[in-house]
């Protein structure tokens, strides 16, 4: 199997876009020249974080792990808020949990909503990195003349998957995968919630599982908001399986988002003007990206025993073999 990868110049821009987005959501967009989107991401992530911290009385700090040298905290790991890294580090140092002052969690009526908001901030911070990466690809990988650009760039596909599992695949035309992934992930989550009596999406009770459950995105966040007043008051024999299912659903959604990003990226690059093919692990003889068309690039299949080619439009880049015998 061979995959098309962005040009080296694009790849070099993706790395800082991702890194700076994790540091401060929006910064990656700003560096990529998307100033308006940078502002949206920055305010969306910081408002949710600060409001969430305020509503929960900064009790989020009780779920984090400080790494210290002497008395100085050098890193405060708080999941998933750390997806919005820098501001989380600052806020957790500036304010103490009100429980440290003797208040009980039950004194904070909005704490579950606060946890939801601050957790959303971290997850959105992580996905801002994917979105910034997609923006860099869209801005730097120009479309060949005569070709139509895909409807959405890879970052949007990943973001739509966060909104609803399978939606990123749906908009890129992969209806079968959309149904399959969306149905499987949401079904697993709902089964898990049922096994836990709809009380197992609770940070206070299961903080580690909760961090994974938050990765489910829109469906999970909505469920969390709707079930914030539900508590487990009796023994549930299958609650462990329920927790495993709901948390796995969150992680599976991250895999689905990665796949949506990758497939949308392949769609984008397949009509791009500058194409590079690299071998990926896969069965022998399956090399190359199938395609037809005059001119453009024909791939020899990433050094594997296969034949195939990248769809070529008129006036494509002349093929030049690289070290693995690929054509680029």
């Amino acid at each position: 199997m061979a995959v098309i990868v962005p040009a080296k110049s694009t790849r070099e821009r993706i790395v800082p876009a991702v890194g700076f987005s994790i540091l401060i959501p929006g910064l990656g967009h700003y560096l990529a020249g998307r100033k308006k989107e940078a502002l949206y991401w920055f305010f969306a992530c910081q408002i949710t974080l600060l409001l969430g911290m305020m509503l929960a009385g900064h009790t989020q700090n009780d779920y984090g792990f400080p790494f210290k040298i002497g008395d100085a905290t050098i890193l405060f790991v708080l999941l998933p808020e750390c997806g919005n890294f820098l501001v989380t580090q600052i806020v957790t140092r500036m304010y103490e949990s009100i429980e440290a002052g003797g208040s009980a969690p039950t004194d904070i009526p909005w704490r579950q909503f606060g946890y939801l908001l601050s957790g959303m901030s971290g997850v959105l911070g992580m996905f801002s990195a994917a979105h910034a990466s997609g923006c860099v690809i869209a801005d730097n990988e120009k479309i060949r003349s005569g070709q139509v650009a895909p409807k959405i760039h890879p970052g949007k596909a990943a973001l739509l998957t966060l909104l609803l599992p399978g939606l990123g695949h749906w908009v890129t035309g992969r209806r079968f995968k959309a149904y399959l992934l969306g149905g499987a992930i949401i079904g697993l989550f709902l089964l898990g919630m049922t096994l836990g009596g709809f009380g197992d999406f609770d940070r206070q009770r299961h903080p580690y599982y909760w961090a994974g459950q938050m990765m489910l995105g829109g469906v999970g966040w909505l469920t969390s908001a709707l079930t914030s007043g539900v508590y487990i008051v009796e023994h549930k024999p299958y609650i462990d399986a329920g927790l495993l299912f709901t948390t796995s659903a969150g992680f599976f959604n991250v895999i689905a988002a990665l796949d949506a990003f990758h497939r949308a990226e392949q769609d984008w690059l397949a009509v791009g003007a500058q194409v590079e093919v690299k071998a990926a692990s896969g069965p022998k003889g399956a090399g190359g990206v199938p395609g037809a068309g005059p001119g453009g690039i024909t791939g020899a299949g990433g050094g594997l025993k296969g034949a195939g080619g990248i769809p070529g439009g008129a006036g494509g880049t002349p093929p030049t073999p690289d070290k693995q015998g690929n054509q680029s």
Partner: protein, 67 residues
């Protein structure tokens, strides 16, 4: 009380979902996804069921306090 049949069904469901996610990640073609699902789901199911069987056997023999 945990029911073994329910646990068996839950393992089948989890194996199915895992195989769907993995196959969709690895493949992009409908027939390849369906083909990969059966293989990956069966491998995961057999591996977990195998571990469970071994754990059950040694808990009833070597790990019994009286033995």
């Amino acid at each position: 009380m945990i029911n073994s049949i329910v646990m068996f069904v839950l393992l089948v469901i989890f194996s199915l979902v895992l195989s769907i996610v993995l196959s969709c990640y690895r493949e992009d073609d409908k027939s390849a996804i369906l083909k990969g699902m059966a293989r990956r789901g069966a491998v995961f199911f057999v591996a977990v069921a195998g571990f469970a069987a071994v754990a059950y056997m040694i808990s009833g023999t070597f790990l019994l306090p009286s033995s």
